[in-house]
């Protein structure tokens, strides 16, 4: 049964950016157990393939919410799935963001990396700061939604602006160096390209955020989600089991090794 997807039907499809869309999936019959923020599903597009996709929302009504960026054949097929399409889902897989004893929440995301962090933006915290970057204004996810979240102090930045963009230009590390923080009480959650996460973690360590309170979400090729295919190894870990969310002290030496 390990490999058997559970059928889900696309109930809504929302275009997020020129290459990303959010799908809400409702079980056709049986449903999967509840996901926690940071966990992922293996989503199957009929005849095309199956890839790991995090949950980008947890409405609690048995539906699955995923935001997918089209980068290859499978993600393209999922991204394009119209309302009514039946997709397969397996999960929940992997570790979740650790959110117990959170005081201040600092969420740092690059690109599609915001998707797995979206569910934590509404997590009760003393203070929630979001620093999110994207390549261009057109690549920014959930922009309207973020602005509407009154409890979230959001800093958005883009690598390259355009004439309609009046916000920040530059990498996420820059605002991170200056955003007001209470380092000792901060829990930092990072998701994005590996070099971005390394730089951000370094900046935060420099500002006094304890290493143990920094968490990163890592990515490797995954074909099963349950430690059978072997593709997701990163050093001692099978990232589908021990990851994707990993404490930074565990991740750092692995991210520093070449071609691991």
């Amino acid at each position: 049964m390990t490999w058997l997807p559970t059928p889900y039907r696309v109930v809504t499809r929302t275009v997020e950016t020129h290459d990303s869309a959010t799908l809400v999936l409702r079980p056709v019959a049986e449903s999967l157990p509840t996901f926690r923020p940071g966990q992922f599903a293996m989503l199957y597009a009929h005849g095309v393939g199956e890839v790991p996709i995090s949950v980008s929302g947890i409405p609690g009504d048995g539906t699955l919410v995923h935001t997918i960026r089209a980068v290859g054949a499978v993600s393209r097929a999922l991204h394009d799935a119209a309302q009514g399409t039946v997709l397969g889902a397996r999960g929940p897989f992997g570790t979740a963001w650790r959110l117990d004893d959170v005081e201040d929440l600092l969420v740092v995301a690059g690109g599609i990396g915001l998707a797995p962090l979206r569910p934590v933006l509404t997590h009760p915290a003393r203070r929630t700061v979001l620093v999110a970057g994207a390549r261009t204004p057109q690549d920014l996810l959930y922009e309207k939604e973020i602005v509407s979240l009154s409890d979230v102090e959001a800093v958005l930045t883009v690598d390259r602006g355009d004439h309609d963009w009046h916000g920040r230009i530059g990498f996420v590390t820059e605002p991170l160096a200056s955003v007001p923080l209470d380092p000792a009480c901060t829990t930092a959650l990072l998701c994005g390209p590996e070099p971005m996460m390394r730089f951000c973690a370094r900046t935060l360590l420099g500002r006094g955020v304890p290493a143990g309170r920094i968490q990163v979400s890592l990515e490797r090729n995954m074909q099963c989600g349950v430690g059978l295919c072997g593709h997701c190894q990163l050093g001692p870990m099978l990232l589908c089991r021990e990851g994707p969310v990993v404490p930074y002290p565990v991740a750092e030496p692995l991210l520093l090794a070449k071609e691991l």
């Binding site: 490999w3 056709v28 009929h46 005849g47 993600s75 490797r220 074909q223 059978l228 593709h231």
Partner: protein, 355 residues
């Protein structure tokens, strides 16, 4: 209960297993090697054939006697049967998903050596599946590349067999001491023609196996291999191996515990789809593919991944080493790269903590 069987007794054993509806698999001589195939009778066993084995080298040779288990690990392992090279996982018509029918027969494995018995356990720990009926062959004649003793996996067959055979040819004739390891094993022996074993039979067999431990062709360095590999992530030695390594993936394919698979999607013209898994290798560049490119492209990184996983991180993941010391990866590496030698080379230049 212990029983002594002659060749006819062995033949009866195969027959009884077959009568019970099992597919009996064991060693046969085929294509210049001792491979594994379905057995009809004891006559299919490679009686009188041994092997001459070295790094990247394997030749079958005529033995002086008629031993049927007088050969060390061949090109194949039991993995082919427990974790087949290709297996359908599920099919889809676009609305419904169906698991593939499991068509694996009820296997009985005959002639499983200690190293392979350990390998079967390690493999099943990962891939699961029904337990096969196992008739082990105690190792009395290790090969030039064997190092099961230093991996703690032999030469005496550990737990997990139903029956263990110890082959002996001397003035007393060609015979097999059969010892049951499970109730099912005992029941099987009850149905076989043989004489009850004497104390001498048992002593001789134990001596033969003990002696084998002293004759291993290879050994792993006596260090904590997991620590050794963790300490050598950035070693320059990987480059040195990469010069010789073909990145062909043979070592992983012949390894009895390497379990990695890739998933393939196929579609037919009527719109049906099927997902299958096939043996994959960490030596394939695509193995570590992420959107934008593979993570491990250099030969050095790929060899490091293999060896580190096998000897080191397997323990982090599954609580045990991934290597049983069968020597297959050494023999069937066309370049003759020797995992024990590479481990020794690393150990030589590494000061591990705690000493």
């Amino acid at each position: 209960m212990n029983l002594v069987l002659d060749l006819d007794g062995l033949d009866a054993l195969i027959r009884v297993l077959r009568d019970d509806g099992r597919v009996v698999v064991g060693p046969v001589l085929r294509d210049n090697a001792i491979t594994l195939a379905e057995l009809d009778s004891a006559a299919d066993l490679p009686g009188g054939w041994g092997v001459e084995i070295g790094a990247g080298h394997y030749r079958v040779r005529k033995r002086d006697d008629a031993a049927v288990f007088g050969h060390s690990a061949g090109p194949q392992s039991w993995k082919r049967f427990l974790h087949p090279p290709r297996r359908v996982l599920m099919s889809s018509d676009g609305n419904e998903f169906r698991t593939a029918q499991d068509t694996a027969p009820d296997y009985a494995f005959l002639g499983v050596r200690a190293c392979d018995l350990a390998a079967i356990a390690k493999l099943r720990q990962v891939v699961g599946g029904p337990a096969p009926f196992v008739i082990a062959a105690q190792c009395t004649e290790p090969g030039e590349l064997c190092f099961c003793a230093s991996m703690g996996c032999g030469p005496a067959a550990g737990p997990g067999y139903d029956v263990a055979l110890t082959e002996r040819i001397d003035s007393g004739g060609h015979r097999f001491l059969a010892a049951a390891g499970t109730v099912e094993g005992t029941r099987l022996l009850d149905r076989l023609p043989g004489r009850a074993a004497t104390q001498e039979d048992i002593t001789l067999a134990a001596q033969d196996v003990d002696a084998a431990a002293q004759r291993m062709g290879r050994a792993m360095p006596e260090v904590d291999l997991r620590d050794l590999l963790a300490a050598n992530r950035d070693s320059a030695h990987w480059e040195a191996v990469a010069e010789r390594c073909l990145t062909c993936g043979n070592c992983t394919m012949v390894c009895p515990t390497c379990f990695c698979v890739s998933v393939e999607d196929t579609t037919d013209l009527d719109g049906n789809a099927e997902r299958s898994q096939r043996w994959a290798s960490c030596f394939e560049i695509d193995f570590s593919y992420l959107h934008g490119g593979a993570v491990r492209t250099s030969g050095a990184a790929r060899y490091r991944q293999w060896m580190t996983h096998k000897l080191g991180t397997w323990r982090d993941q599954f609580g045990t080493s991934g290597c049983v010391g069968c020597g297959r990866c050494i023999a069937w590496c066309p370049a003759g790269i020797d995992i024990t030698e590479e481990a020794a080379a690393l150990a030589e230049t590494t000061q591990l903590g705690g000493e």
